[in-house]
């Protein structure tokens, strides 16, 4: 009996990536012991609806449990986090003191929401959106019809939350330090189109300012103090400031892990602090930072649904392959978001883009497809309610087509070239605050 047959494979983190990775192991014929360890007490559930239909009250939070797509024959160890990893002894320690041996490990511990870092953090009425419990608590607070909701952070989740609050007929103020919503992700040119849409829906959007502190009465939040001195009355706050990767439990494991992710090699194997891949430990999903061949092996983390699914399946295949058959994970980042009645989709990475062109539709109609260029190459394609055009442009992005891409036999109008309004290339990509708003967090 091999080590893998005897000790089995353990998946740590029982959410989207953990579930899809476990299924892929079985689909590829692994029939040894399989254990899923999860901090949350729930079966894996889907997070995207939590800031959309669940928040708008159209779906009960528990309806989001994910379908299991193949028979897992797994042991589920839910409701207890892993707290430490001993690679020498090949055991995982859980919070209740139990230990779990493994032959191979798949780490899919994702990320957790950043909480309010400033003054007033202990007041009631301040929420984040990441877990089922978050969604439940927020929904019952919204059902009490707050007079004004303040949302801190105009990233994807902040904007989606603002949209839901308007659907519920609630007054909402969105505060963001950038000139437009989604500025770091899509740039201020496209951001301005969204700002218009958002204001049209009745959101009080406050750009270029920050919430400095919250204060309250009887332990309940009542006021937001903005950087310029203005004070806004509020009784419910949603903090949408991104997420930090759940790597704290790996602190003593000797792996290259920090709040920005667990560093992996191209095959999704975790890298030790000595710089060597651990042949038995893989990672996937929000937690994994890996060199993406599609971007010249630049280390990146991708905090979107599609990456959790694809990377987990890829890592699972490599886990079962021999050391000489490890295939690098090549991924074109993609996401969707729905807000203010718009379906927004991106394929590629806008990071450092220096050009923007609308190639289908018009910004004025708020229905268009735009492409981003960087140094003469097409690096991303963005759809506002033009999803059917996206796959063709996504292909051009993946192929590194010149900018703007010319797609055969399309009736492209004269292309208007624009400044995307993105910040310049980051000094330390994918670390710290700069990367946060670009994620679905």
């Amino acid at each position: 009996m091999t080590e893998v047959q005897r000790l089995g494979i353990v998946v740590v983190g029982a959410s989207l990536a953990g579930l899809r990775g476990a299924e892929a192991l079985r689909d590829r014929g692994y029939d040894g012991p399989l254990t899923l360890v999860g901090d949350e007490p729930h079966q894996p559930y889907d997070r995207p609806p939590l800031s959309k239909h669940v928040l708008a009250g159209e779906l009960p939070p528990e309806a989001t449990v994910l379908p299991q797509l193949s028979r897992l024959r797994a042991r589920w160890r839910l409701g207890q986090p892993a707290v430490a990893l001993n690679r020498e002894r090949r055991v995982l320690h859980r919070a209740d003191g139990a230990t779990l041996p493994y032959a191979k490990l798949l780490i899919t511990t994702g990320a957790r929401a950043r909480t309010w870092p400033g003054e007033g953090a202990d007041l009631a009425g301040i929420f984040t959106i990441r877990t089922l419990e978050d969604a439940r608590a927020l929904w019952s607070a919204l059902a009490c019809r707050p007079n004004r909701v303040i949302i801190v952070g105009g990233g994807l989740i902040g904007c989606e939350a603002a949209s839901c609050c308007r659907d519920l007929g609630l007054a909402v103020t969105l505060v963001d330090p950038n000139p437009t919503p989604l500025a770091r992700l899509l740039g201020t040119t496209i951001g301005a189109t969204l700002a218009e849409r958002m204001r049209g829906a009745g959101v009080d959007f406050r750009p270029k300012t920050k919430v400095r502190a919250f204060s309250g009465e009887a332990g309940q939040v009542r006021r937001a103090h903005l950087a310029g001195g203005e004070v806004l009355e509020t009784d419910l706050v949603i903090v949408a400031l991104g997420a930090t990767r759940d790597t704290g439990w790996l602190a003593a494991a000797g792996l290259a892990a920090d709040a920005g992710g667990l560093t992996c090699d191209g095959a999704c194997r975790a890298i030790s602090i000595a710089g060597e891949p651990d042949p038995d430990i893989y990672a996937a999903g929000d937690v994994a930072r890996w060199p993406n061949p599609l971007y010249g092996d630049r280390p990146m983390t991708v905090e979107h649904w599609g990456n959790a699914v694809d990377q987990a399946r890829h890592a699972a295949a490599n886990m079962l392959a021999s050391a000489s058959d490890q295939i690098p994970y090549r991924h074109l980042p993609s996401f969707w978001s729905s807000q203010f009645g718009l379906n927004i989709k991106l394929a590629g990475s806008t990071e450092g883009a220096d050009a923007l062109a609308v190639v289908q539709g018009t910004r004025a109609s708020q229905r268009f497809l735009a492409v981003y260029g960087r140094a003469g190459r097409t690096v991303a394609a963005l759809s506002f309610d033009q999803a059917r055009w996206l796959p063709a442009y996504a292909e051009a992005v993946a192929a590194g087509a010149s900018f703007p891409p010319i797609l055969g036999a399309t009736d492209q109008p004269r292309i208007e070239a624009l400044e995307p309004g993105l910040p310049g290339p980051r000094r330390s990509p994918d670390r710290g605050a700069a990367a946060l708003e670009t994620a679905h967090a």
Binding site: L69, A387, R388
Partner: protein, 71 residues
């Protein structure tokens, strides 16, 4: 039963909405709103929606699947 739609793939063709109008609905131009937890009795309708999707974006949990899990 459990259903999830890969909304990166979905292109708002609405075929699923014709096949199972109580469980899939298009909002605005192309936002798909779907029921992730329809009752088991609706399985054949949901499977028709899955078959109808031109980009195969709909994933369904096969019946009785989770029963094989060990305690």
């Amino acid at each position: 039963m459990r259903v999830v739609v890969d909304l990166n793939r979905c292109q708002g063709y609405a075929q699923c909405c014709y096949a199972a109008p109580d469980h899939f609905e298009l909002r605005g131009h192309e936002i798909l709103f779907y029921d992730p937890a329809p009752s088991e009795a609706k399985r054949s309708q949901i499977e028709r929606a899955q078959q109808a999707c031109p980009v195969r974006a709909i994933e369904i949990e096969p019946a009785g699947l989770a029963e094989g899990d060990e305690p």
